[in-house]
Symmetry: C2
């Protein structure tokens, strides 16, 4: 989608600090980090919110994002310390960009509740 | 795993308020809810932490958990309001039960940062 900032990052049209990539997912640093490590992992293909994720294709795409997040977490030195993965959906979830993304946060102890 | 409380819930050996189930995942209410809706979704097959999720099998299992969470969220009336999905890993992530689980939280506005 031409007007989606995350589609444009995935396509290389907007600069971002890319830290991982597979055929179907891209990981890059969050511009407003909430932890020493704060990375976003997005599916290359546009999915607006998790409301649209109840399809086989979306299940695979989100599964691949989670797996890339796990791999990036390891490279970022978050094993064995740990980390939190977060997916925000719509207003109550705090979603700010309407292209599905997985937040990977680590490098500090995360509190409970999660927001 | 006989000594894993979530394996025992999945097997029906420990009571829980089950709100959804597929062949490979089970959803039930969290006993210490942090939001009006707070549900856990677990893979039926034991995975200790996301550290162990960098395999094809685990990618599929976690993808199915996320999809079941999306379906349960819809049934719980969290569309179009929204919700947050959270996976805690190890100590810094705040993981308390060592069987991978997806938290589904909704029914209130979730704050930022997520813990």
């Amino acid at each position: 989608m031409a007007d989606c900032i995350f589609c444009r990052i995935a396509a290389g049209d907007i600069p971002a600090t890319i830290v991982g990539r597979t055929e179907d997912a891209v990981a890059f640093r969050d511009l407003n980090p909430q932890a020493p490590v704060h990375i976003l992992v997005i599916p290359t293909r546009h999915i607006t919110t998790m409301f649209d994720a109840d399809t086989d294709l979306a299940e695979v795409a989100v599964g691949q994002c989670i797996r890339l997040a796990v791999q990036v977490a390891k490279r970022e030195g978050l094993e064995p310390g740990g980390y939190r993965l977060v997916i925000n959906t719509a207003k109550d979830g705090g979603q700010s960009v309407f292209h599905v993304h997985v937040h990977l946060l680590g490098g500090r102890a995360m509190a409970w509740p999660p927001g």
